[in-house]
């Protein structure tokens, strides 16, 4: 059962196939034999959960599409039809809607893991940037999907977000008209948003493929942030990490199921059960929770063009992390000051999210402005300058040294010794 070094086709048919397309050899190499650092903790299981969620959203989405009607007069009714008439329609829709939230929760944990353990540092820059691209595509997909039920929040969320592009000098209104396909958000907009909502997940799938390819070239980082050197530092993917990932997935699914079956509307907005009305803005427009920190940044700045610029830079800064963080030490475990700033950053983002959900009045405005400054300071001041004053702790000589104690005890190192080559 445990990881064989190389795939050896056994049956005649398998041999025949493998000489024509070495698919199973490739899969075996990528998901069975590949040596991972032996000290990966549970924060490393979220990537697998993300892969699962992408498949899950595509599966539930495709079946929803069989009952959904992308027409501004019928869309809202067709979603009600899914909820009331279609067999298990309520389950599929709640699973898809909450699935989007879970997807984002998991991607945020996955990204913070990278931030804490310095997983974006050389040689993982391309891997990291592919991740940022996936994140951007996910945000676009979630936004487009949220317009489809054509409720009040769908409509006004779409209006506010597309109007962001109106802030671009000179060509702003040309771009918004082009995005809408009309004078305002309307049927033409809904139709193209539906087409794109269907398309983007498959583009995500493509980038995920590149992301995993890049991962298998440079290998996983690990909680120590020290590269694996010898085979003693590693364990084969199967069964060690398939088991760990599988267990984490099951725990995650319990949480997911709890949302779907017990509080399916908790993360949604009641206003979205009112059909879109282009002549009435809801009392308060709040985006889905996963956009709230950025929304708070947008609202904290009392200038349209600067607010929109801040919003987009807040997201794009993630792509520049490999060059903003100048410390040669990856893991926060060995960076006592960075660890403090990391948690301050997490608190800043949570605080911004909280402010984004509230009306921009009084103390919320002030707090929003302060936290916006904190957010940008983390990227532009703390990350580049901290290494100048920080005294990092000594790094262990190798993963095996740190994990197994020195010298490495062979009994803990399972015996498929010739199993895996270490890059």
């Amino acid at each position: 059962m445990s990881g064989q070094p190389i795939y050896v086709p056994k049956s005649g048919l398998a041999k025949w196939f493998e000489t024509r397309l070495p698919l199973f050899g490739f899969l075996h190499h990528s998901f069975v034999a590949i040596p991972n650092p032996r000290n990966l903790n549970y924060w490393w299981t979220f990537g697998g959960i993300l892969a699962f969620m992408l498949g899950f959203q595509i599966a539930t989405g495709v079946v929803l599409a069989m009952h959904y009607t992308p027409d501004s007069k019928l869309a809202f009714l067709s979603v009600e039809h899914i909820m009331r008439d279609v067999n298990y329609g309520w389950l599929l829709r709640y699973a898809h809607a909450n699935g989007a939230s879970m997807f984002f929760a998991v991607v945020y944990i996955h990204m913070l893991r990278g931030l804490y353990y310095g997983s974006y540092k050389a040689p993982r820059e391309v891997l990291w940037i592919l991740g940022v691209i996936i994140y951007l595509l996910m945000m676009a997909t979630g936004f487009l999907g949220y317009t489809l039920p054509w409720g009040q929040m769908s409509f006004w969320g779409a209006t506010v977000i597309t109007s962001l592009f109106g802030a671009i000098p000179l060509v702003g209104s040309t771009i918004t008209t082009w995005l809408w396909g009309g004078y305002a958000v309307d049927n033409a907009t809904l139709n193209r948003f539906y087409a794109l909502h269907y398309l983007l997940p498959f583009m995500i799938l493509g980038v995920v493929f590149l992301h995993i390819w890049a991962l298998h070239v440079v290998g996983s980082n690990n909680p120590l942030g020290v590269e694996k050197k010898t085979e003693k530092d590693t364990l084969p993917f199967h069964p060690y990490f398939t088991a760990k990932d599988g267990f984490a997935l099951v725990v995650f699914l319990i949480v997911f199921a709890w949302f779907v079956f017990y509080i399916p509307s908790y993360l949604g907005d009641a206003d979205n059960y009112i059909q879109a009305n282009p002549l009435q803005t809801p009392a308060e427009i709040v985006p889905e929770w996963y956009y709230l920190p950025y929304y708070a940044i947008l609202r904290s700045i009392p200038s349209k063009i600067l607010g929109v610029t801040a919003l987009f830079s807040a997201i794009l800064l993630f792509a520049f992390l490999p060059w903003l963080d100048r410390s040669p030490v990856r893991s926060a475990s060995f960076r006592p000051l960075y660890r403090i700033f990391f948690w301050l950053f997490v608190a800043t983002v949570v605080g911004l999210g909280y402010i984004g959900a509230n009306r921009p009045e009084g103390a919320y405005v002030i707090a929003g402005r302060i936290l916006t400054i904190c957010y940008f300071s983390f990227f532009l001041i703390v990350l580049p300058l901290l290494p100048l004053i920080e005294k990092t702790k000594p790094l262990p000589a190798s993963i095996a040294d740190a994990v197994l104690g020195r010298p490495a005890r062979p009994s803990l190192n399972p015996g498929h010794s010739s199993a895996s080559e270490v890059r």
Partner: protein
């Protein structure tokens, strides 16, 4: 491919790979460039319809013709919302006391562009009341911040919708404030006054939205920002 100029490019023939003439690939170079150029032009030509189909289609534009509004039903101090080109159009009948507020120095001091200097209206509405007739205000009801519909709070109030309210429009989305002529306040996220659409009076009680008075060529596309 090493590039050695041939004495006479037009005479250079395409040699077989491995033959001594291979160092003179003029004909292949030419074919390569010509094919590449054709490919680039062709790709751009193919992208034009792919992008153009996203712009408003003929039926949407046709449905954007002028509309007539009967003013008889609007009482003094009242506002109605018409829909023109999928956009809400505010038509407000202003009372003398509301008009007086519009001119009060106390209000004007709070405005970002009180004299309508920024091109957000036709020439015939670039005045203190931002309309043709002072009693009737006609505005595109779309917040110049991010497109919500501002709410109508005509009366002064100490508390609603915000403190020391002088009467006007309040945008619920991010708190932008406008007066009853659509002039934006300072220190709010919206950058410009509410736009004025092209309109004219067909008769004393009939308003036509989407058509200018004679002599004007104003178009909503000309303004700084919708």
């Amino acid at each position: 491919m090493p590039h050695v100029p041939s004495p006479d490019p037009l005479l250079a023939s395409d040699p077989l790979p491995g033959t001594p003439h291979e160092a003179e690939p003029r004909r292949r170079d030419f074919l390569f460039l010509a094919t590449g150029a054709f490919g680039v032009v062709g790709t751009i030509a193919a992208l034009v319809p792919l992008f153009a189909q996203l712009t408003p289609d003929a039926s949407t534009i046709a449905a954007g013709g002028p509309i007539d509004i009967d003013l008889k039903g609007i009482q003094p101090g009242q506002m109605i919302i018409a829909r023109w080109r999928s956009r809400p159009i505010f038509i407000i009948r202003r009372t003398p006391s509301l008009l007086k507020t519009l001119q009060s120095p106390e209000l004007v001091a709070l405005l970002s562009d009180p004299f309508s200097r920024v091109n957000q209206q036709p020439d015939y509405a670039a005045n203190w009341h931002r309309s043709i007739k002072p009693d009737y205000g006609v505005l595109v009801g779309i917040c110049t911040h991010l497109g919500c519909i501002p709410e109508f709070f005509p009366n002064p109030s100490a508390t609603t919708p915000t403190g020391d309210w002088l009467g006007g429009y309040f945008c619920p989305c991010h708190g932008s404030k406008y007066d009853l002529a659509g002039r934006v306040f300072r220190g709010v996220p919206a950058p410009y006054n509410l736009p004025v659409p092209p309109y004219r009076f067909v008769s004393d009680t009939m308003l036509r939205i989407g058509e200018n008075p004679e002599g004007s060529t104003y178009d909503l596309d000309d303004i700084v920002q919708l």
